[in-house]
Symmetry: D2
Subunit: 140 residues, 4 copies
């Protein structure tokens, strides 16, 4: 299991008139979690795109447990349990500054050749990065 | 089964550098679908909020089939299959102007007393509106 | 003076915890106004991009007069007073369903060659469309 | 002159199909700049709202110099030159990780009594914080 953490400060723009973070902002929070998970692993979306590979989201699910509020300092945990192949699975846990779990979710991303617009296998270098990270973080 | 349709023109703001609608915009599209479903039924979120009832999203899932593009004229079909009780289930289908199915999803909403911050049963008038609509649209 | 009107229904996503439309959504409303102004004139951004021309915003100013609220049906008036040359000037007026003026603004857009990344003159066909429209709508 | 700096990592959600940050995201970046400026000064929007004071934006202007790109690490400089009274003026400068100036802007905010919905004078404690900060940062 590979776990990466990053923090996000809730913006006023992200609240709605219920006084909480609008539910539609969590996919963006997940994206930030994925971006930082890749960066901590040693790569970036930009590197993937420069290799001609896009990573569109194929499916996603979200569960809203408690609301996040303006100016909350959220921790996004991004979890990868398996080496990617045709698809890549991410899980997410969002906590506030008191350590309360607010939201959980998961998403599946595909690998697409930008040139051909067709699904491809995960690039070798990314498989290697995840294999290494999954081995290092051990057997839970 | 109660089905409501509404249309959305994709904004430039909603695209991303992949050249398609950013995946995190679909929850907002679903919200527009729900809003118009309630309006076509004879009520509004505002009426619910003025009665002291909020309808936060409890969970959601989305499946991305094909990308939407800038300036596409999308049709959002919002589908309700059951009269709401403690929770309300919505399903969504998003089509482009060629009738191609781009995205499907579903969400579950809770009814919350704004004053007490606690879950409540769906207000009677809303149950009646859905019961009537579900009977009228018949047995598919 | 060429004036185009379009309508936008305020989304829940666009409100903030003050209970009004978040101030940062008006640039998107202006974009919708511009898009529809071009469409009513007989062209689209897509057509411009397919000709290798991008239209980034160079500057913008906004004045917030009264707040817009959730579910308001806004009218965006987009006003062009001069035929574009190196730059194109748009003015905006945003009204709610009671005809109250909520917001005014203006923006200046440049024409950029997508291939070269350099400023260019407005494409001839767009100059012609505006010249015709400005003549037809007459002398105010 | 009081200057505060904060950093923002550009999200994929914030790009558009031109491949740059959508122009309508800068007001949100400015909001983050203001929020951190107040925090570094020793207060928060939340504290103001808990005192019954809202700070809506009355006007804003923006100048787009160069585009920001996905994953850029932006520095937002937020500048206050005068102690607030009925209104509060902020200026903004946005730089990328190479120190290139991308965007400048300014905004004017009002102080509103949330209870009465009327303009009020800036709360004393905020005037004091800015007076102190403006004196300390000295005469440039």
């Amino acid at each position: 299991m590979y776990i990466s953490s990053t923090q996000i400060r809730v913006r006023y723009a992200e609240t709605d008139q219920m006084g909480y973070v609008y539910y539609g902002n969590y996919p963006t929070y997940y994206e930030v979690g994925r971006t930082e998970a890749l960066r901590q692993l040693g790569t970036t979306y930009q590197q993937l795109e420069s290799l001609g590979v896009a990573m569109p989201v194929a499916s996603m699910s979200l569960k809203y447990i408690k609301p996040a509020k303006y100016d909350d300092l959220l921790t996004i945990k991004t979890i990868v349990k398996e080496t990617p192949h045709m698809r890549m699975h991410f899980q997410y846990e969002v906590f506030n500054q008191e350590g309360v779990l607010l939201n959980i979710g998961e998403s599946v991303l595909a690998f697409i050749s930008i040139e051909k617009g067709k699904p491809i296998v995960c690039p070798d270098y990314l498989i290697e990065l995840f294999t290494k990270a999954l081995n290092e973080q051990g057997a839970d």
